[in-house]
Symmetry: D3
Subunit: 292 residues, 6 copies
């Protein structure tokens, strides 16, 4: 295909996403592979220069684990949440804010964009409250768990994001919230991305994962389901097509859609130019979920 | 090459031309071939949606000739200028403003853009003065010529263009000026485009012609000169490489460059996506002339 | 009367119409008599400099007829609408946009104002849809008619007008609409003026005609009815005082009043300074219709 | 002449003075004759509604004298300046600010305008310094005089005037300045008007007096000199045509012109509609002085 | 206490009143004691520089009485209202606007602020209507009274106040209203302050009086009631704790609170720094009345 | 002294610093003592609410040392600069950006302000270049040293700071710069604070240290020099009064003063309310250095 053709083919999407806010959750393998990370950021800077307003929310589990080990601590999880004691909370902050976030902003700068690193306390962006302690059922037994400094979003104040977007910046957000006493809380990156997208009335939330999207047959890439609505999702969960780790991702997508976001897209961050292909081509590359 | 790659390859140009004003002179064969015209306008709408600010200046000689013939008049030219009596001036206005310009604006609309048709009198955009009568030398003989209502730019007031660009419009300009008494004057489209580009401090002026640019050997397309500066141009004129109809085009380009425009590009409007390929690829497709 | 007295007598109207949008439909004899046309435009430029915001909508039937004849075509009408084939549509566009409109803008410039010529496609101002083909009753017989490229307003986007008014321009609009496929449609100028006035929430619509307004006795100019409301109009139609060609004019005025315009004024464009006298004197010169 | 004609005849002046700041010094007989005062204010409100920006500076000598007498004090003057002791200063403030100024603002309101009364202390508009005590020559003898609280302009801060003009108000200014210690000083109204006009870069200063302007022969109204430049003025002073009380008025006009004001106009405030006739007719009614 | 402590202790109030409009009624003894007046104005300028937006409304009874006597007139009151004939109205205007108001603005300037003196006619701020004549009961007898030019607020247009506050000015308002015919009316300063506070949606109205607030035991300063709500007030009136002159003050406070003001504060203007202590300390110094 | 008095005594400084940008370098003991840190931040939030625009630049040496030790690394310094290898650079970033900076922003939030944490890469705020390797003289011997990732400011782009200040935020900046390839560089906090103050045209730079300022006799607190100019400083260095660690601090202050900052103040961060006392009292508490 010729390059001119490609641009004019993209015209409907350029129109649709002009000045649109798009939240991109960056996580998984792409975060540890520097080439993949570089490609994703280059795509995002390109989006910005084509007139869109991307907002990045990042994770960083593997890097946190590595630092904990260096400092002689053993990571521990309950129901997929990292149990976060005082020391762990400091490590989470240092790794996510001081290292991962800062590296992403530096990459944006290298590709000619203007990034700004943010966490929940900046401009009182993400007010959170501690989750638990609570009694849950693990493997059939009732147990009391205390996740420590794990939190849930209480309120988003998107004002600082609108200011930065208006000025041409690409915000990069670490999923660390703060409670009313100014204490840091560790928030799940997927949830934070969804909450932020909802508060910004973003047009779309892109979730970069390590899988191609939702497959009818997990062993057949060709069985990718490109376009689902909420009803479809519930059906597929019932039928077991959507299962395991994908269930919470899909359920949280449904929450976001109900909050007014037009579409959630689950794509494979390891595919080269996944972000651009998903947003600027007719077919896209992953699974797009819409309300109806 | 893969689509995503093409997009990110365009990043340097997207950055360079972000919010940049680019004047595009549309003329020649492309104006009579509806498919070519459609392609050019689609390219230009795409530019707009990627954040540039294109301004179109159009010609329309063949359509004027056709209407003159229908009305029983014979077109007549002196030194390349159309001798323009009262009736011809009315025909020029009707064809350029009422038909050609309006068709281009309609095409912009069809591709999802917002165009606005303008001529010199709108917002006092292009004040002109009558050219001649004067004594010139034709084929060795001195003759007195009166071009009639042919004019030259006296002053451009770009205010209305800045207003329209600010509001997201694509201006389409017919090269008809008006003198201080409100009389219409027929202006050469290339000259008008140059004058307008200079008054807008445009980044670049693209001139769509029927040739590939400046060729070292007119019979060998591969001998295209992609990048020239003003000194090169004078050299090539002296050597006869730039000759005939290309001389005034190049000389007027030099005037525009001296007025502060960064580059003038002579490209073949009949090449598919000529505009996008010239602006968004490293190599371009025609001849780019810069000051130094 | 002394000139100072006149200005202070006008104070109530200067106050009332300060910054007010006033749509002026210019048509009839005044359009072919250059002195009358010049006087009307001078009045309108004076309004602008006294702080009002006039918008001009013009017709041009006689000039279209003349050009059609020159090109060997015979004008044809059904129920007062010009049957508009492809060739006629081109002629309508060329005459209205290329000649009549451009002449009015040039006159504005000559009197020191800044005009801008517009038609329906500019800034997607007037989206229209084709009227018919339909079965109507003509002289007692049912006939199938196809008006060709005759259209009706589907939607007005007044954005470009507000922009131009804000910047001090006087917009001059040719009543040519465009459908969703970018095809030109011939619209009745009175209807277009009414639709535009409604979309702008204009304070008043002035319709310049060849008659003095609505007369109780058509043979007695002194029987002019200066002030009517909608109920009066229906009564006068029933009584036959309002008859023939005046009926559609009055019915369309009622539509405009119901859309929120404060007053419609039917005045004689052949009276010197008709526009100023109507707007800036207690008595006015024509018939003013208000809602209640 | 017909009304419409009068309006369009005013077009050149409406254009010239559109958005122009015009300072009007109101004094003399007109200030004590309530009908004349009413007429002047009505003219000024009309100017505002036609798009100009009038600023009023008023005097009030006769009313001050009257109040002084009521309170048992005898007005006293040296070289045309009112000797101003503490008690007199209080009377001056009370009469000018509390009565004369307030009456003018109320008249503006009655004619539908929005006035605002100001004196030198408001917004630190007019910083002044005490004049004298000094040794002057009176009737051939050197005497030491102390004018008391008489002041001269030290600095104008026109910011508050620009704010009020921008918001559509007509400022009415009492010529009372304040020194750096917040003490009130009595300033000559003509001088204050000139200083304010200069600081506002007004287009014109109108001085309403009780005479028709500068006459070649003081007994022949027909000998009015309509248009003078600075050189003419010096000549006429030398020749004795400009004499007595008119000399300081003309000299201060020259100062104002040198500060960048386009014209100073000396007109008879007792002529009906003097302000409008002077500004909106070709001929004017008084003497206009320009730089060259 | 150390100065740093004091500032940080004030932090909650600095936050609460940041950009808040606070109307301050200045009257009583403080108006005739120049040192007290100076202190109050210094406090108010300090408020402005700490980010609040104070608006001053002043009285001036004693100074009016003094001037009336000087001019041989005897002040006369009915039900606490000054009977205001033509001459008295002129004196009221001259004293309040020309002297008291102007002195306050000069004090603001001396402390480095920018004041602006206003009365009801400026910018049509306070439209009033004449009160009475009416039949009232005085000491058990029905009598017909005509207060003369005494008025009541009909409508406040706070536009000019918002403009001045936005620009950093401290408005100083004389309680003189104007009726629809431009006639001056004498308004009670407390009522005017309340009406103005309500129209500005002020956060608080401070009333500077000669008493410490509302005391449970009038002979015991320690019995001050610091915080009351509307119900408390009605109770205290019933019980006789609030009595005599304080009753109308409290009733008018209730009206203001019902119009949406957060609090009314009755404080002793003779206490040094009463305004700052009331607004910037936890305890305050007078009685604060709130809705509930 | 009474509270109100203290407030009005601060009036000259409230005026002087209204809307003024003040850069505050926070370092030393105050950074490790949580109560002192809390007090400093409360002072700074108070400044903000009184209308100033504070900007914080922080150090964090002790916390970096602690983390290095935890990770088994030994801090090493050459000429007072931390030798920064890859791993150290990561630790510096994590500790400063992820912990120290984030804690300060959380404290701002707790006191009711809105903070935002920044480092050099955000909005391309601080472009730096690597210092050395270079040959220096240490204890009389020439040695080649490589400081590793230690940098010097190349260019400040204060745009993001102006944006944040305009929106009411308190920026908190970690002194980490980035070079043109997006690599992090460790910058001296004092130097960074000075460079940032200069780029912002700040009114003053406050340097919070562990000493009381410059003392004539180091053992006598009463010998504090409150006010010095640049000439004084050079004299005192010559005389040995300014010595050791204070020399570079004073020399860098001189650079900042020459860049247009009005004053540099060296104060003891361990004194309660040091910031407020220095800025809002006549005497201040430390040493203020001005140009002349």
């Amino acid at each position: 295909m010729d390059i001119g053709e490609m641009f004019t083919d993209a015209l409907p999407w350029l129109k649709k996403y002009r000045d649109a806010i798009i939240v991109i959750k960056v996580g998984g393998h792409a975060m540890v592979d520097s080439e993949a990370r570089n490609g994703i950021i280059k795509d995002i800077v390109t989006l910005r220069y084509m007139g869109m307003k991307p907002v990045i929310v990042h994770g960083g589990g593997p890097e946190i684990d590595a630092m904990m080990k260096k400092l002689g601590k053993t990571p521990s999880f309950v129901s997929g949440l990292r149990v976060t004691d005082d020391e762990t909370m400091d490590i989470v902050r240092m790794v996510l804010v001081g290292k991962v976030n800062t590296d992403l902003v530096a990459l944006i700068s290298r590709h000619g964009g203007k990034g700004i690193g943010l966490k929940g306390i900046d401009g009182n962006l993400l007010l959170a409250k501690k989750k638990g302690p609570e009694r849950i059922t693990v493997e059939g037994k009732d147990v009391d768990v205390d996740y420590g400094w794990v939190g849930e979003t209480e309120k988003i104040d998107p004002d600082i994001l609108f200011t930065m977007l208006e000025k041409g910046f690409i915000p990069v957000i670490s999923p660390i919230g703060y409670d009313r006493d100014g204490r840091a809380l560790n928030i799940n990156a997927d949830t934070a991305a969804g909450d932020i997208a909802a508060s910004l009335k973003a047009v779309s939330l892109l979730s970069l994962t390590d899988v191609d999207g939702i497959l009818m047959d997990p062993n057949d890439k060709a069985s990718l389901l490109s376009h689902l609505n909420i009803m479809d999702c519930y059906d597929l969960i019932k039928k077991g097509v959507i299962s395991k780790g994908m269930i919470p991702k899909v359920l949280s997508s449904i929450t976001v859609l109900n909050a007014g976001i037009e579409s959630v897209r689950i794509i494979n961050g390891n595919v080269k130019h996944a972000v651009l292909l998903e947003l600027l081509t007719e077919k896209g590359i992953g699974t797009q979920i819409v309300k109806e």
